[in-house]
């Protein structure tokens, strides 16, 4: 493509975005997709943390209060009801986790996709030009590996996030049951 001779004002890119622009130029469009996936992943994870801190705690308090308000805490039906309530609450907490796991699994795939498309571009340019420029090819291959690196990095960090979230939720499951039981014991005592 020829350079665009534009006498108009060139697009001004803020200084802090420049490294990002360089990254996109180096890695191609797949890198942008990986960046979007990473944004989605981390915003979902943060949303879960926030949900856990605020909405979930309020719901948990309401649930314990509802449980305390009951007359009957010991019958089979009461226990079943409690179980159902707790499961629903924890289920709501756990609902986006599969999506998080999907996004984490997507990152290496996308990285590989970017690498392969980059390689295709390199070999295509090799097939088109008459001279076999080893240096240009090495440069292209080095560039093509960038998406894989990015995908792996995002996947590792995302994996840390998701496993931590899983652990928190599992612990919370236990703790919810403990609290419900203890609340009854305190009233009985």
């Amino acid at each position: 493509m020829g350079p665009t001779a534009s006498p108009g004002v060139p697009a001004v890119i803020p200084l802090w975005l420049e490294p990002l622009q360089r990254l996109v130029e180096a890695g191609g469009s797949v890198l942008v997709v990986i960046a979007l996936v990473a944004m989605l992943l981390f915003s979902l994870a943060l949303e879960r943390v926030w949900y856990f801190r605020i909405t979930y705690r309020r719901a948990r308090r309401a649930l314990i209060a509802r449980w305390m308000a009951r007359q009957d805490h010991l019958s089979w039906s009461a226990l079943t009801l409690r179980e159902a309530w707790a499961r629903e609450l924890i289920g709501r907490l756990r609902r986006p986790l599969p999506w998080l796991r999907l996004l984490v699994a997507l990152c290496p795939l996308l990285g590989l996709l970017g690498t392969v498309t980059g390689m295709i571009a390199v070999f295509d340019s090799l097939a088109m030009t008459d001279t076999s420029q080893a240096r240009a090819m090495a440069d292209g291959v080095a560039r093509a590996t960038l998406p894989t690196l990015t995908g792996m990095a995002v996947a590792v960090v995302g994996l840390l996030f998701t496993s931590r979230l899983e652990q928190i939720i599992r612990r919370e499951d236990q703790r919810l049951h403990d609290r419900l039981a203890r609340a009854v014991e305190d009233t009985d005592a």
Partner: protein
């Protein structure tokens, strides 16, 4: 017979010649006699002849002098030519060479289209004239000025289908020429311009905007068509897809099957969740069209079972019976999502093997062929990865929705059971007994 006639024919001229000679001699003798008789006339004739002779002598000497002067001038001029000729000949030769080179070099330049004329060829010029130099300098200046000009003109242009029609063309200096939306290429002869096939879309858009006067930026190919040719060689997306070959078709076919299954199942799940929502709004009238209604109906049939544990077991059984229909299709989608990248990799590896086998057979004469083969082989990996991504999404969506529905059924069923047990008039004491035996928390 014929000989005698010949002799006759030859004897006739002989007789005439002799007669004529005799007549001439007779005439001369008569004149001599006349002159001898007339002495004065003789004198006069002699005088006349002498005067004529004198005149001729004078003219001769005059011409001699002139010839002498001319010779002198020639010698002088030759000397001057000797002095200056080498320089001037060198100048003429270099001028002729340069004008020839310029003509050859600009033969395929855009300046030839509606531009200033080329300098004339000087290869057959004998002597350097001043106007040669002036014409060459003038045309050089005009051409140089032309490279800085944007010209708009009408010209016949051959379209991609070969049809020649007059179009409005813009020529930008010596860089490029284009119609509204197509770059142009110089034809074989200087007359016909033709559009470049497969001008990229963004280029065409910028050219059209410039052509209409809406924008001040334009795109051109600084390599004089090489980049455009390379771009035209680059396969389109569809061609790339066909490069994947059989493996590529298999991968994409499997992906399509997986997505179709996932779509159908998701539509089914959506229908089920709508029906369940309707059912949740109104738990008094149980319907057969949703899992929750079916479970509660079966539960209603078992209602009189006195033992809660047995009731719970029955309920679990009913819920379990609903699960397979909710989780239908998930294993297939997951399998296809896992298989697609593997198949793509397989296609790439086989393609590479074919390429390298070709190299072992035909030698490494052409690295371009190798590069082309490898880039074709990589296409299947791309297809596999691209197929796997939506399949993974579909699987996650299916699993999430079916799990939610199952949880809903289970929770609602347990809640219904619990409420049912609590409403039993004689229930609590017997049940509390059973619960006391099993106080453990789940």
């Amino acid at each position: 017979m014929c000989i005698s006639t010949n002799l006759q024919a030859q004897s006739e001229p002989l007789t005439t010649l002799r007669a004529e000679r005799e007549a001439a001699e007779a005439r001369d003798r008569a004149r001599l006699a006349e002159l001898l008789e007339d002495r004065d006339a003789l004198e006069a004739a002699l005088e006349e002849a002498r005067a004529a002779h004198g005149q001729a002598e004078a003219r001769n000497s005059e011409l001699r002098a002139e010839a002498e002067a001319l010779n002198e001038r020639q010698a002088e001029l030759e000397a001057r030519q000797q002095e200056q000729g080498d320089d001037l000949e060198a100048i003429l030769a270099s001028l002729a060479q340069h004008s020839g080179e310029l003509r050859d070099g600009l033969a395929d330049s855009w300046l030839m289209v509606q531009g200033a004329g080329l300098p004339p060829r000087l290869d057959d010029a004998e002597v350097l004239e001043l106007e040669h130099l002036e014409a060459f300098a003038d045309s050089l200046v005009a051409l140089t000025a032309d490279t800085a000009r944007v010209v708009r003109f009408e010209a016949p242009v051959a379209a991609a289908d070969g049809e020649i029609a007059p179009r409005e063309v813009i020529r930008v200096g010596d860089f490029t020429a284009f119609t509204d939306g197509h770059l142009l290429r110089r034809g074989v002869d200087d007359r016909a311009l033709s559009v470049v096939e497969r001008t990229p879309r963004e280029v065409a858009a910028s050219l059209a905007a410039f052509h209409a006067g809406e924008s001040r930026s334009l795109t051109f190919d600084p390599t004089r068509g090489q980049v455009m040719a390379a771009l035209a060689q680059r396969p389109s997306l569809l061609e790339r897809f066909h490069q994947g070959g059989a493996v590529g078709y298999v991968v994409v076919g499997l992906g399509a099957i997986g997505l179709l299954v996932a779509l159908l199942q998701y539509a089914y799940l959506l229908r089920v969740s709508l029906a369940m929502r309707r059912q949740l709004r109104d738990l008094t009238t149980l319907r057969e069209d949703n899992p929750l209604g079916r479970v509660l109906l079966r539960f209603g049939a078992l209602r009189d079972d006195p033992v809660p544990e047995a009731l719970e077991a029955r309920l679990d059984e009913a819920v379990l019976a609903e699960l397979p229909r909710l989780e239908r299709g998930q294993p297939l989608v997951k399998l296809l999502a896992a298989v697609a990248p593997l198949l793509g990799l397989l296609g790439t590896v086989t393609g590479m093997i074919v390429t390298f086998q070709a190299i072992t057979v035909f030698g490494t004469g052409d690295p371009q062929l190798m590069a082309g083969g490898i880039s074709q082989a990589l296409v299947t990996t791309v297809l596999g990865l691209i197929t796997a991504v939506p399949l993974l999404f579909a699987h996650t969506a299916l699993a999430g929705r079916s799990r939610r529905l199952a949880g809903l059924v289970e929770g609602q069923a347990s809640a219904a059971l619990a409420e049912q047990l609590e409403q039993r008039p004689h229930g609590p004491d017997s049940i509390t007994g059973s619960a006391r035996r099993d106080p453990a928390l789940a």
